[in-house]
């Protein structure tokens, strides 16, 4: 308990520090947010143009597709906002020998890396995600119940942890190879599959994004539950289970990696 309290206090200090840094570079952070908003905007334009040519995408309406897309941005944006610093580990922190600094401090390395930075650019994704959900939700005629609302909110942190876990596991590879940023990148590209209804893919792709690199649980399956109310056990239950498994694997790889780590020197 005492330790958790200490960690929370640390987190506050890091966040405060981060805000000071942001105020120093105000321009950057506005440009960053606009950049992410713009990226999502063009994707929406793409969907809109496509749907102007066809009545529905294999049975999915534009609104449903946009809703799934919007939902996918929430866990992605949250992970991006809170734990973006993990990207840096695989890209350059280890390679440049800067990782040593984490080892000299009396806090858990993984915790320290995760909370050190706050990536405000991610607000671009979060704003867009919330906006897309708010725009599409009223006209989707979804049946709401107390349980459904509860599950819909509950599933978001778990979906976020799927991202975080995969990021921890792939960045930790850098402890052996010095550089693993592009492995993380490769996994993130798989995540693009999950933004759209998985029924448009063939069985191979569908199995991969469900069972091997389970990004489908960050977006499509939870969103599908909200849309249809079907299979809460699979759509929500499995999301929770998978996110816990992925996080465990991530932490295990990280801890082994720390033991294997040899500084890159300078």
């Amino acid at each position: 308990m005492k330790q958790i309290k200490r960690m929370l206090r640390m987190h506050r200090i890091f966040v405060a520090q981060e805000f000071k840094r942001m105020m120093e570079y105000k321009g950057d952070f506005v440009v960053g947010i606009i950049g992410f908003l713009l990226g999502q905007f063009f994707n929406m334009l793409f969907l809109w143009i496509i749907f102007s040519q066809i009545p529905s995408l294999m049975g999915w309406s534009l609104k449903q597709v946009v809703f799934i897309y919007g939902f996918s941005l929430i866990p992605k944006g949250l992970d991006h906002l809170l734990f973006d610093n993990l990207w840096a580990i695989g890209h350059f922190t280890v390679r440049k020998g800067d990782f040593d600094k984490y080892l000299t401090r009396p806090i858990n390395t993984l915790f320290h890396v995760m909370v050190e930075k706050l990536q405000i650019d991610a607000l671009g994704e979060l704003i867009m995600g919330v906006a897309l959900i708010c725009i599409t939700l009223p006209s989707l005629s979804i049946e709401w119940s107390f349980i459904k609302i509860l599950l819909a909110i509950l599933v978001i942190p778990f979906a976020t942890l799927i991202y975080t876990g995969i990021k921890i596991a792939t960045s930790a590879i850098a402890f052996w190879t010095k550089r693993s940023g592009n492995i993380t990148y490769m996994f993130y590209m798989v995540n693009d599959f999950a933004k759209y209804p998985v029924t448009i893919y063939n069985n191979v792709v569908r199995s991969i994004i469900t069972y091997i690199i389970p990004f489908a649980f960050t977006a499509f399956y939870p969103a599908n539950y909200i849309l249809t109310g079907e299979n809460p056990l699979f759509n929500i239950g499995l999301t929770v289970v998978i996110s816990l498994i992925i996080m465990t694997i991530g932490v295990l790889i990280w801890n082994r990696g720390i033991k294997a780590y040899e500084s890159a020197g300078s």
């Binding site: 952070f29 496509i50 294999m58 650019d121 592009n182 490769m186």
Partner: protein, 272 residues
């Protein structure tokens, strides 16, 4: 000429070594990008299955497949990291090392990147082109490959690369003034991605918009080479689009020279 070559050859070499050192990293990056192609492939497949005609805005499904993968090949071939490199060098101050040397600032980047690119071309272009051609032959039922078209495609890619290179240099010089580039670079990539047809073929846009976009330099980047490869442009049109590419390459070359003069006055190395 010979002397010039001797000066810049080490930069080509350095670029090649850079890529070979982090081979594995590069391969993962490429796999990631190919995966993104497959996402588009499945979306378009679903789109064509959901529509009621075989062709959409002049594209059939086999053509769309060729378009998606050629778009990827072309953007990889013509990619240029000038923006980011200049931004980084300004931030860490190492730009001063380039400035004090009696060689052209732009050329050092160009030659270093050509070294980088050499590896990409060797590893990527042959399997990609063979892959695209096999798919095309199977889907359409007859051999579509045309060596003349392919050579024109390469020529068009060279122009496209030059446009991209000088455009990115111009954009990079903005760093001299705003000093931070990551967000701006992302914005640029989104806009260029859309205007150059990487997100969706320009033929899918409303007519007037398509005509305007075709005139802009961005269509000259990816869209023109891909259209040439696919045999969508012929005769006078072909000459017109190649000419347009040439014009934009010269335009950005000139602009980069001008910006170099202006921004040198603004340079303040942070912590250099």
């Amino acid at each position: 000429m010979k002397k010039k070559l001797r000066i810049y050859l080490p930069f080509v070499n350095a670029g090649m070594q850079e890529t070979t050192t982090y081979r594995a990293n590069w391969i993962f990056f490429m796999i990631g990008n190919v995966l993104a192609c497959f996402v588009s492939y499945f979306i378009w497949k679903a789109v064509f299955l959901s529509g009621d005609s075989n062709s959409m805005n002049g594209f059939t499904m086999p053509q769309m497949v060729v378009y998606i993968f050629l778009m990827f090949l072309t953007s990889t071939l013509i990619s240029s990291g000038g923006t980011y490199d200049i931004g980084e060098e300004i931030r860490d101050g190492s730009i001063s090392m380039r400035i004090i040397k009696p060689i052209s600032y732009n050329s050092t980047f160009l030659f270093q990147e050509l070294g980088n690119k050499f590896m990409t071309i060797c590893i990527l272009i042959v399997p990609m082109v063979i892959g695209v051609e096999v798919v095309r032959t199977v889907l359409i039922g007859s051999v579509q490959f045309n060596i003349f078209g392919f050579l024109l495609y390469i020529l068009s890619c060279v122009f496209a690369y030059l446009i991209n290179f000088f455009f990115n240099i111009c954009f990079g010089f903005v760093a001299f003034i705003i000093k931070y580039l990551w967000g701006a670079n992302m914005m640029k990539n989104c806009i260029v991605g859309f205007l150059s047809g990487a997100t969706i073929p320009l033929a899918f846009l409303p007519d007037t918009l398509e005509q305007i976009f075709l005139l802009l330099p961005f269509a000259s980047l990816n869209y023109t080479p891909v259209m040439i490869y696919m045999g969508m442009y012929s005769g006078l049109f072909l000459l017109y689009y190649l000419g347009l590419q040439m014009f934009w390459a010269l335009f950005f070359w000139g602009l980069s020279k001008l910006l170099w003069r202006v921004s040198l006055k603004h340079l303040s190395v942070q912590g250099g």
